[in-house]
Symmetry: C2
Subunit: 207 residues, 2 copies
């Protein structure tokens, strides 16, 4: 199987990328998942939103063909969505890959590349209104699949998204193995009522 | 407040470190939490377990005084627990910091430094038996605090641990703000029955 790719760019939100990365590499190691690669405009260190720095293994020019590309978010996504080289790369990948995924405001990069036209999608709760204003059919769920396009809510929601992706594309048994090795059995209820505020997405209102 | 530190070492498991890092830096940015720093034996790139590389801002010699140190896990922790320089650094931090935390097999580094003596602690489900055999009072919960020592189960459990840490040390309101910004409202139930197997920790059996 062709590798599963993760897009990195300066200002990418750390957990948006690393949450799904951890799950995907456990899929690779324990359940016959694909190899995983980080791709950025150029190979090398990429400074993240909160002060970490990640190293991209490939640049746009030397990246291998991918089975899927996951686009993480961060405030910087609102700049990256205007970057012609990134949009060109994302479009090129979409023409040969089986699946395109986004986490958080990564959905705006997919939208700017024209890949959310006619698709249901979601994003961070803070960005639902602007994504709707961009003409996208935004659903208020933690993640949603519409054909070959998979999008999730903010930051940590990428973990739930990729487990769903593994379950749908390979089967629940593989997702169970990954979840078990990553010990992803969260026990944290909401610490307060912020998720119940006006305009918050429907899935939060149901918590 | 003195910074919150994250220990990095070659082979550290990506999400063990980055999950709590994301939450702690949101605490810093949105709820008056401390600054956050990554410390390794030397500053610079640190290769992780699954192929990512993170950049440590400080080495043991130039690291600032810390309010807390979080020690992530990974299979490499079983080597690092024998490394004199790391144990010396961890002990030095424990003498001046208010709190010591571990995720996953990071508990074995705390134990090797003598910091789990007489403490209740936990670790990845795969490592409960060896941690017990090392003489530690292992509890089968997703995370546990015993005084100034906070430990969690495997990989993703560090996210639940640090939200608990924020709630206990600053208040539930701060934890709510962090959780809300990171959109940490998981919806993923177990995909199968692996968590119910014989010898699995009590908190998993209750799921």
């Amino acid at each position: 199987m062709k590798p599963f790719g993760f897009l990195a760019y300066p200002g990418v939100e750390e957990l948006d990328l690393v949450g799904p990365w951890e799950m995907a590499t456990m899929w690779r190691d324990y359940a016959d998942g694909p190899d995983c690669v980080v791709v950025a405009a150029q190979p090398g260190a990429v400074p993240c939103a909160k002060g970490l720095s990640l190293v991209a293994q490939h640049g746009f020019d030397d990246a291998p063909a991918l089975s899927a590309l996951l686009i993480p978010g961060g405030f910087a996504a609102f700049d990256v969505m205007k970057d012609a080289a990134t949009l060109d790369y994302v479009r090129r990948v979409s023409e040969q890959a089986d699946h395109m995924l986004s986490v958080c405001s990564g959905a705006f990069i997919l939208a700017a590349a024209g890949l959310l036209e006619g698709k249901r999608a979601t994003t961070h709760w803070k960005a639902i209104v602007p994504l709707r204003e961009a003409g996208i059919d935004v659903v208020e769920e933690r993640f949603v699949r519409d054909g070959s396009v998979w999008t999730s809510a903010g930051v940590s929601a990428g973990i739930d998204l990729i487990l769903h992706f593994i379950a749908e594309t390979q089967g629940a048994e593989a997702a169970d193995i990954v979840q078990h090795n990553a010990e992803y059995y969260p026990v944290t209820p909401p610490y307060g009522d912020l998720h119940k505020g006006e305009g918050k997405p429907a899935y939060m209102q149901r918590l």
